[in-house]
Symmetry: C2
Subunit: 192 residues, 2 copies
DNA sequence: CAGATTGGCTAGCGGTGCTAGAGTTCCGGT
DNA sequence: ACCGGAACTCTAGCACCGCTAGCCAATCTG
């Protein structure tokens, strides 16, 4: 039975290798450079092996996205924990969010932009994504007022998402980035 | 000389046909269906003809985006003109913006999402896009407060953009859409 | 040790964006 | 009126893409 165990272990290892290779390649050269052929070469197996682990390229990207959203959740949690007062917590988590998107654009794309079947607003939301969202929600709780917290959080989050995506695509003046973040935070932390 | 004139006219006509075919195909079947071969078949010319008009597929998409942003500007202007008071103007233009993105997702993608060389925040911004932005800015002017109007507008616009893109990708609960819009408008129309 | 099963491989399909070079049509000067 | 040359469009093909069928070797089972 231990032979089977070894095989399963090796198989799991290879699966992690595929995800890691896809992530690294995407982060260093963009998702266009992530082709099944290059991925196969990277893990030193032939192309069809990928399809015994994942249904297709989209599934690989989805796996990368799930892994990446775990990183995002960790960074958001750290930012929230480091804050001293509620308002500064919002500013901190917003900065952390934007920094993540800026530092790891390919990963951010996989999580939020690419038309990957990672439905967020439903049962099969990956737990990592739910955690990242929960960090945002807890940070915003003091400022939601009469609004439903989840809806309020979605709106603030959309603001962050819009800021980072529009800036990355060259639609916003980069030098005003921090000021825009400040405006967003200011507008969502007014009481009453 | 009139022969040359006729040729130039026909050439311009064909160029418009290419853009129209790309737009229609994208809107009815998505950008993935817009291939150079199908486009060529649609205009009843061979593939290489496309490249005598545009540098490549990206340039065609950019042309569609420019045309589309004219439509967006018109709809935003109409929404602003129809409003009776400043706060309702913001709500109206926000609704119009979201409706445009919802009704014409492929066009919206071409304008704002696709990594197309349509740099917005620079000199070569298409005049149509600048007009759409100006409509937003004028509507928001009464509420900018101490913030720079352009920066304030960029932030609000990012909020709209985030709402529509995240919802379209299934990351937001569709049934809460109007409530989120209301929250965004509310937060950006508070005075003092 | 023979047979069955598993699993990775080679090769190939139909598609993509794009381009080289052939061929045709039409214009302008003699 | 004609012919050389320019302008233009086409056919054919390149290198790549995601994905899969079917072979073949290694391994496990009786």
């Amino acid at each position: 039975m231990s032979i089977q165990a070894r095989r399963e272990r090796e198989r799991a290892e290879r699966e992690r290798a595929i995800i890691a290779a896809a992530r690294d390649l995407a982060e260093s050269e963009g998702w266009d450079a992530v082709t099944t052929r290059r991925l196969a070469a990277e893990i030193e197996y032939s192309q069809p092996v990928l399809y015994s682990h994942f249904k297709g390229k989209d599934a690989i990207m989805a796996a990368v996205a799930v892994e990446g959203s775990g990183d995002l959740a960790v960074e958001l949690a750290a930012a929230r924990a480091a804050a001293t007062d509620p308002r500064q917590a919002v500013a901190g988590i917003a900065t952390a969010y934007a920094a993540f998107a800026e530092r790891r654009p390919a990963l951010y794309d996989a999580i939020f932009n690419l038309p990957v079947a990672l439905s967020f607003a439903s049962q099969d939301t990956p737990v990592e994504l739910a955690r990242a969202f929960a960090e945002l929600a807890e940070t915003l709780r003091p400022f939601a007022g009469d609004d439903n917290l989840e809806t309020f959080t979605e709106t603030f989050w959309s603001g962050l998402h819009g800021l980072v995506t529009l800036m990355r695509n060259g639609r916003l003046r980069r030098e005003e980035h921090e000021r825009r973040l400040a405006i967003l935070v200011d507008r969502f932390t007014r009481l009453g």
